[in-house]
């Protein structure tokens, strides 16, 4: 088992778990009690209804990757853990955001949005709701851009990831 990771602070793990009640709580409480820090976490069922897939970005400053992976692997409901090395994964995150937008500032906002590749979901008298799917870093940047306009409400999904196509049998585990 190759547990040698490149020297990045954040590392993405794709964890396949049994689709049973309480499994997410087991994973979350493991991180809490072992003092492993989570940068982001996303869960959803997979194409096989028996399993769910958790994409978790862990902070390696709190614990070595090797320990995190091995402790996760001890959970009986955890079926498989794949490491996605940065550069070997396609990562995306979705952001929904409602931003203050008086009519005279809308063009400006839409310009930013177009450049980032986002969408206008709806427009109100003094607000707009936008969505953006992108690399987490791009989503961060766009969030920063919007902040001066006044963010009313914002929700991000946390990142999800798949191994790159030429890499499917690659460095995962």
């Amino acid at each position: 088992m190759n547990t040698q990771a490149p020297d990045y602070r954040y590392h993405t793990l794709v964890v396949t778990v049994e689709n049973k009640s309480g499994v997410l709580a087991r994973v979350a409480s493991l991180f809490a009690r072992r003092a492993f820090n989570i940068e982001s976490l996303a869960v959803a069922p997979t194409d096989d209804e028996l399993f769910s897939r958790i994409t978790v970005v862990v902070d390696l400053e709190s614990a070595p990757l090797d320990q995190i992976v091995k402790q996760l692997d001890k959970l009986v409901n955890v079926v498989e853990i794949r490491e996605l090395y940065p550069g070997h994964a396609v990562e995306r995150e979705l952001m929904l955001v409602t931003v203050s937008a008086e009519p005279d500032r809308r063009d400006e906002i839409v310009e930013h949005l177009d450049r980032a590749g986002g969408k206008v979901l709806s427009v109100g008298t003094d607000r707009m709701m936008l969505s953006l799917v992108g690399l987490p870093a791009r989503v961060d940047e766009f969030e920063d851009l919007l902040r001066p306009y006044g963010i009313v409400e914002l929700q991000r999904t946390g990142r999800v990831a798949l191994a790159t196509l030429d890499d499917h049998d690659g460095p995962g585990r």
Binding site: V17, E18, S21, G22, A25, R26, S29, L30, R33, P64, D66, Q67, K70, Q71, D73, K74, L75, V76, N77, V78, V79, E80
Partner: protein, 575 residues
Amino acid sequence: MDGGRALIRALENEGVEVMFGLPGGAILPVYDPIIDSSIRHILVRHEQGAGHMAEGYAHATGRPGVAMVTSGPAATNIVTPLCDAYMDSVPMVVITGQVPTGAIGTDAFQECDTTGITQSITKHNFLVTEAQDIPRTIKEAFHIATTGRPGPVLVDIPKDIVDPGNPRSAMTWTDDVTIDLPGYNPQTEVDPEAIRAAAELIRASERPVLYVGGGILKARAADALRELAELTGISVVTTLMARGAFPDGHDLCLGMPGMHGNFTAVTAMQESDLLIALGARFDDRVTGRLDGFAPDAKIVHAEIDPAEIGKVRRPDVAIQGDVRLAIEALVAELATNGTGDVDRDAWRSRLSGWQERFPLAYEQWVPGDPLKPQYVIECLRDSTPDDTIVASGVGQHQMWASQYWKFDHPYTWINSGGLGTMGFSIPAAIGAKVAFPDRMVWAVDGDGCFQMTAQELVTATVENIPIKVALLNNSYLGMVRQWQEMFYEERYSEVFLSKDVPDYKMWAESMGCVGIRVDDPEEVESAIAKANEIDDRPVVIDFRVDAAEKVYPMVPSGATNSELVVPPFQQDQPR
């Protein structure tokens, strides 16, 4: 069939011969079929007792201990033994009652989130919601508890699925249930490459030490270990959890390392150039301050739990897998390719020099002195059969028992190491005695510990489980007193119990035991002889021992093992 009957039948099918428990509302339907079952049920006086009895049984036999209790307060009462078993890797299956499935989440009477509470202190737990799932879940629970690194598994059973009066309890019994645990595959086979690499390090080492932990006992690897030690001539230290895994009487045995380990065991590890860790986990009580632990040692770490490898100290060679298989493979490798020709005479003479200068010792009793606790342990050791099982509580008495007993057989020492649970000894001794009714079982207990679980002596009397208790009564929470004496300038805060309350002799007698009190060293042997003759009821001997006695040697917390404090009369010896 109904779920309740299915549950008992599933336990019978797992070979369960005895279980420890106490009924109540939510588990009531499961208690009815017990009347007709081959399983012996032992009715405890407190659910904590049931858990520790199951642990004692498991420690002594290697088979999983089983406890069954009701929901809510009963489930919370057994939390401590679950955590204890988790820390010490004890195979155990605990069944808890739960409110009916429809009431879960409503704060119903005696509802508590048992699986939530015990999630982090069990190897795994289950909340069963369908009667049909009961047999498979029980099978999975035993499988998980006993394979890989053993541990406690809890099965929470809502009342409606076991109550024959409820249609939800209806199920069809079938003998062929298969476990379905896609995420559970403990790897037992060892990598031959790692074995070769470990053998190379062994061949090249000048100062090797076999550092043996409780995993050796869990893996039934004591014989293999002995072969390895004798083949290589490498000395062995046995941790608190591994006492008995290698005979104390063997020339190669150095005894216990760690915070209260003997000088030679601690120092041999400290000065070693190769630690061969077998079923051990580099616990802080063994390593002392980590950055000063065995600074020159390379590490071979053979261990079943991958997460333990590299958790505390990065090994030079990791052997992941069953430690018995690992040792057998090492023996085969070393037998074939030789054990090397490094001259270890200098190392051996350093070891024996330490043994001569720093034996385990205490200041001998002189007339007028109070009774010495170490002397009581020595007398007990010398006047009990070789295969006597000793179960201890937690505190000074535990350390003296571990130090001064001579363990020459595996599975004769039962104690709470990882969690350090006061009150462990009496119920654990009961569990061991249930497993081996023909062997002598002594609990070595402290007065503080005794007051936490003594009520189980009622269980012992009523169920005819004649254990013996040596109470080292120093009127203090002695271990805490020792820390306050040494590190808090003798400012004793809330550690004095009482000189005369309770009256342990009367208390023992009121519980149906024989009670004996000993103040005078002259009476120790005759009291033990008398106790040894009684086999129809439990015996408690209240040994009133010196409260000022301290456990030596000691590594102060936060210090490195090189700063081991030896008893005052050894302090002038050259190290």
